[in-house]
């Protein structure tokens, strides 16, 4: 917390945090007028929103599919397998991605080759960056994300389904009229949490996936802070950016939570 002061100081390492000169809001102004400011904000929000649109429903769909499985052994095996990527670090996931998509002996380009297509250097292609980010994010997180929904599904009163069956409801009808509404509170809470994390594009993933040729679309707040701060030694400037992000995130979490409490009575606290 005390480190937050860095953002308001002209930090000199030998003077320490308290000994350094006050700089007021200089670094915040500098960031807001930074030539890459809008690019970074745009990239960050684009990545988060894409992840939200495609990544958020994925675990719900997986949970619903698993819920329809009758053989409990099959269900358990699929579940165990689906948790695996969650426990593997981004370093490994990105390695896998690079290997599969490698232009030389990568699987995907081998397939393209056998179809008579030219190899693509996927990781260096700015247009494909977001696609890869979203796909790898889903691959890594979908199984883990489904745990919560599966847990919520087991809490649904079975008599509801029995009643629906008597009324002649089919499988899809049961999903849309019983399962989904019962999942709504869970979905709501998780949505609040994701919305408030909109300035977190996923540091590990982005940092490890970006290449010089994709920097234009892949530079996000967190990676920028890291480069400015640790590589270029601009401590105060980076702290100002970090603080900026933290304040907005906190504002977001409180706002989204209030709105949601008013509209749907779903709240984090």
């Amino acid at each position: 917390m005390y480190g937050v002061l860095l953002a308001f100081k002209n930090f000199k390492y030998n003077l320490g945090i308290l000994g350094s000169q006050w700089a007021g809001l200089k670094y915040f102004k500098a960031f807001l007028t930074d030539s890459s400011f809008w690019d970074i904000i745009r990239n960050t929000i684009t990545i988060s929103v894409l992840k939200l649109i495609f990544g958020f429903p994925a675990p719900i769909i997986l949970a619903l599919m698993l819920n329809e499985v009758v053989h409990s052994k099959f269900k358990r095996i699929v579940q165990t397998v689906s948790y695996l990527p969650h426990f593997v670090s981004w370093v490994v996931v990105v390695t896998i991605l690079q290997k599969l998509l490698s232009p030389n002996v990568g699987l995907v380009n081998d397939i393209r080759h056998s179809m008579g297509l030219d190899p693509i250097f996927f990781m260096g292609e700015p247009r494909l960056f977001y696609v890869l980010v979203v796909i790898s994010d889903i691959w890594k997180g979908v199984g883990w994300g489904s745990i919560i929904y599966l847990a919520a599904l087991t809490n649904i009163d079975p008599t509801l389904y029995e009643a629906a069956e008597i009324d002649g409801a089919g499988r899809f009808r049961k999903i849309t009229s019983i399962t989904l509404p019962c999942l709504m509170p869970t979905i709501g809470i998780l949505l609040i949490m994701s919305l408030s994390g909109i300035l977190n594009a996923g540091f590990d993933q982005i940092y490890l996936m970006q290449t010089p040729s994709t920097l234009g679309v892949s530079e996000v707040l967190d990676t920028y802070v890291l480069k400015k701060g640790i590589r270029q030694g601009e401590f105060s400037y980076s702290t100002a950016i970090g603080l900026f992000k933290s304040v907005i995130s906190m504002f977001l979490i409180i706002t989204v939570n209030n709105v949601s409490r008013r509209l749907t009575e779903v709240s984090l606290w």
Binding site: V69, V91, V105, Q210, L226, T239
Partner: protein, 305 residues
């Protein structure tokens, strides 16, 4: 689900559903099989491509070289000791904190919780942390791999929620029998909380094992580098001739490393695949056994914030 007449629609639905789930499982597992095949295959042969499921020229040479390699074995030892230490300490400290917070009589409980909650949400990010570590003198020491990882407020809240579910009457009757708070904590609360302790241990352990970041940015000495960081170095070095993910000095070091590997008859690429498998294996061996616990743990943590 009920066992009544199955309509054609339901049959089709079942077939589609099962097929999709099987496909999904395959896409999850396949990359690991791919890497496993490559790690058991001769590196020069692998360069020709075409290895997808099974090794073509089977060899154990990659693994032998990997376990012979001083930098790899050293990083592995760092990671193992770090993971064990962090897991034990984290579970212990988190449990003590959580137990305190679960007591309704704790003075200022609300403020303590707010204090931790606020500092978890609000902060200046990476750089203040960096400066803090330097001033504490743990930068570039083994301790930076341990101390910052042993407490997480989120985990404390998960544990507290679990402790709250243990009936008060148990500890009350122990008090009547003359037990102190510590006795209650060690003899009653902890033994009853195995599921949540196992969950937290798994989370913390996996986190410590997979953490490459600390080793990359808060450690400079090579001999302190954990396995995840070394893996990242080897890989980012290989994939792109870029300087964005590497500092100048480490490129040179890793280059020298790779050169010595190349001369030993194993390709760096094969060694990398092997290293990935080595790093992933302990996790694959452990998590399925703790599955029934962590499924519960996740529920506790998220549904009752």
């Amino acid at each position: 689900m009920s066992v009544r007449r199955k309509t054609i629609g339901e049959k089709i639905f079942n077939i589609v559903n099962y097929t999709l789930l099987i496909l999904f499982s395959l896409t999850t597992i396949y990359p690991f099989i791919y890497f496993l095949a490559l790690s058991f295959n001769d590196g020069y042969d692998a360069m020709k491509g075409g290895i997808y499921l099974f090794p073509r020229e089977f060899t154990l040479e990659n693994y032998k070289k990997a376990f012979d390699h001083p930098q790899i074995t050293n990083s592995f030892m760092i990671s193992v000791t770090r993971t064990l230490l962090v897991t034990v300490l984290a579970v212990f400290f988190t449990a003590m904190m959580a137990y305190g917070l679960s007591k309704k009589g704790l003075p200022g409980r609300k403020y303590i919780i707010f204090f931790f909650f606020f500092t978890t949400l609000f902060g200046g990010g990476l750089i203040p942390t960096f400066v803090l570590y330097r001033q504490l003198g743990i930068y570039n020491t083994y301790w930076v791999l341990i101390i910052p990882s042993i407490f997480s407020f989120y985990n404390a809240i998960v544990m507290r929620t679990f402790f709250n579910g243990i009936p008060d009457s148990l500890s009350e009757s122990a008090v009547i029998d003359g037990a102190s708070d510590l006795t209650i904590f060690f003899r009653i609360i902890l033994p009853l909380s195995l599921p949540v302790l196992a969950t937290i241990a798994l989370f913390v352990g996996v986190g410590a094992w997979n953490d490459w970041f600390t080793g990359e940015f808060f450690i400079q000495s090579e001999e302190l580098r954990p396995a995840a960081t070394l893996l990242n170095k080897l890989i980012s070095e290989a994939s792109f001739e870029s300087s964005t993910t590497n500092t100048g000095s480490s490129i040179l070091n890793v280059n020298r490393e790779l050169e010595s590997i190349r001369q030993s008859g194993v390709t760096p690429e094969a060694l990398r695949m092997t290293f990935v498998i080595i790093v992933v294996t302990p996790i694959i061996m452990i998590y399925p056994f703790i599955q029934k616990y962590f499924v519960k743990g996740v529920m506790i943590g998220s549904l009752k914030e």
